[in-house]
């Protein structure tokens, strides 16, 4: 069960990047960097272990009497949840196709066109399931003061850190947080195997 958080975190990072990446001025460069970044993150994430309480809240939806066969399979279903979320990103925004495709053999305009598909679809999925807002409402580059008793998980202080709060500094990144979430419930596959990221499609 507790394995679900890192997976979810990766899905979110990907989602947020995709959602807020500004594709208008120079899509190709940004997108290339983004894609590489995401691929790395995904790889790291796959080998990361973590434990966090929140995993429980997300996976307790399976405690339903009607699916007794799957209630004990918590590890499998936590993974199933993340995979299902990625599957939604693939279905709507072709995210897995984007990551699995060979980016080195295509020119920037082809990658830019593909990036629009990913942006349109994935941002729709993210907006459907999560409400996202900046951690800090200030403008990036402006001076801010982090007061005593600040939430250390919401602010990361870097540079020359000494003395006591308030800490005065420059807002480098405004941060993102989820203000509310409405994640889908996931039905685990019967055999205990993981759900597909995308089924093979056959036109009959």
């Amino acid at each position: 069960m507790k394995k679900s958080l890192p997976f979810l975190a990766i899905a979110l990072v990907i989602a947020i990047g995709v959602m807020f990446g500004n594709l208008s001025p120079q899509p190709e460069i940004i997108v290339k960097a983004l894609a590489a970044f995401l691929a790395v993150l995904l790889t790291i994430g796959l080998f990361m272990g973590n434990s966090d309480e929140k995993g429980q809240a997300i996976s307790n939806v399976r405690e339903e009497p009607r699916k007794p066969a799957h209630t004990n399979d918590t590890q499998g279903s936590a993974e199933a949840e993340v995979i299902t979320f990625l599957a939604r990103m693939q279905e709507k925004g072709r995210l897995i196709d984007f990551l699995m495709d060979d980016i080195s053999t295509h020119n920037d305009s082809a990658i830019g066109a593909a990036a629009r598909v990913v942006h349109q679809g994935c941002s729709a999925v993210v907006k459907e399931h999560l409400s996202i807002s900046p951690v800090d409402g200030g403008t990036e580059g402006a001076k801010i003061s982090v007061p005593p008793g600040y939430n250390a998980s919401l602010y990361r202080l870097t540079g020359n850190l000494s003395g006591k709060a308030p800490f005065n500094g420059t807002l480098v990144h405004k941060g993102w947080k989820v203000t509310s979430s409405k994640l889908p419930k996931v039905v685990s596959p019967e055999s205990g195997e993981l759900p597909p990221l995308a089924p093979a499609q056959v036109e009959v």
Partner: protein
Amino acid sequence: MKKTFALGIDLGTSNSAIAWAELENRESPEILEIPQTLGVSSLGTREIFPSATYIPHEAEFPANLAQPEWCEGKCLALRGQFAREHGSMVPDRLITSAKSWLSNPHVDPRSSVLPWQSELPTEQKLSAFETTRGYLEHLRQSFQNSHDATDIASGEIVVTVPASFDEVARNLTADAAEAAGLENVVLLEEPLAAFYAWTAQAGSEWRNQVKQGDIVLVCDVGGGTADFSLLLISEQDGTLEIERISVGEHLLLGGDNMDLALAYTLQSKLASEGTKIDTWQMRSLVQSCGAAKVTLFSRDDLDETPISIPSRGSSLFAKTISTKLDRATLNSVVLDGFFSITNPGELPKEGKTGLHEFGLPYASDPVVSKHLARFLQRSLANVRASVALSQMVPKPPGDLLHPTAVLFNGGAFKAEAVRKRVIELLASWNHGVAPVELQGFQPDLAVARGAAVYARNRVTGRGLRIKAGTSRSYYLGLESSMPAIPGFIPPLKGVCVVPQGMEEGTEHVLEGREFGLVTGQEAEFRFFSSEVRSGDRPGTIVENAEEELEETASLKVELPPLEGFSLGDMIPVRLHAVVTALGNLELWMHHTRSEKRWQLSFNVRTE
């Protein structure tokens, strides 16, 4: 049972929603989340429930397909978002627009014919009635899912229907609700619901936006349908009163048509550049055009929006096609194509109905402006037909009634440019005098909220009530008694049995006209209606019913063998028309010399 809460159900042609409100809370009603299948293994909730039903193949999905809890894995059909998305690729198994099939005069809504022209065996198909029942059941279960301690019977439930629905379609909707476990629902016309939602949202402020003598056009263009109504504002003892004075015809024309038109334009542009796209890509293009339309209309700083069309295979970089929607194309397709500034005399071209396949009667003319002109022309005819209405509404020059204010509703009006264009159009028909756009437009979910507001007002007896009554007048067909002449069929007369505007909780006896019913035999009457004859009273004769009225249904009644009469005896009866407290029309035959009575049932006319 004492009512303890108010529930509003927007049973939409393309999307449905539910809102609920506590009785003592004057806040705007709360929209409920509706559980629905989002993917094969994921179940989520959304405020919007697409009115789509998918009938899966037995081998199509794994046995533990994600379904709402109440299904317990046994629902045969899928409803909601996944049904619509997946079904668009398997159209033979997808049912959409069931609501329009309920009011289709050519196909019996209780026969299992949907998906229309599908090759599925009949036993797997569903009727429009059953499809509608399924949606209402899903919505009821959704409510109970989030309020499991609440008895649904203690709710005042309002279900919205198009203003264009006649009594047959309304009765079918009410019956479907009952079959879905929602008893005694009250039906409300969608444009009225939009107006209730507007008054609730604007608070007491709404009274400052309208004044006595105003004629408000409720202009509702949703995904697949357009619906118009006119409301007259009058003042009685210092308070504003509102009366609905005209409703439009059922019009299958909406925002989806606009997205399709944009997609076809871009498709032919691509084709001229040598790029062909397949049907799957076309679907994606239609969706992207919808999104690009919203972006361009809401961002004045953009001149164009790029659109990428992926191919279906996994190779995203190599096979994605690029195109773009520019503002000139958008304006020429949407504004000038659907909302062009037409002359007031330009009316929609009628389709060649004789050659059409039976199916949904889609509007054959896509220009909304012309349909609006036709509606305002018919509205004027309706107002002139009654002395009372004529006194309240001054006669305008020309053939159209001119609204003085407009309340917009529906997704098509999210774009300010489209709202502006409609105001401009109405001004051009009225010597440049523009109607006021009522402020506080809520494009989504207004109808569900308004239905809940109306439900709350009904129970508490407080708040606004729009005077509406029956939107049409109704007639029984009577054979003319004329000497037989070879080669001449005497015209069928219509006798008015229900006047327009007959209010809930009232009844009429058709005086001076007795019918003879024979025991043990079924009697059948032809039944007609009109939207434009506000002056007719019960008993008014229309000389040529087939020409001047619309045939709605047939009415049937069968008298059981009766004590004191032998089989085949003629029994004298009189017709009573009742509009129940819930707003349903019932017709009864009363024995003139006893308390006995029999109800006439509506049967859909099928040709």
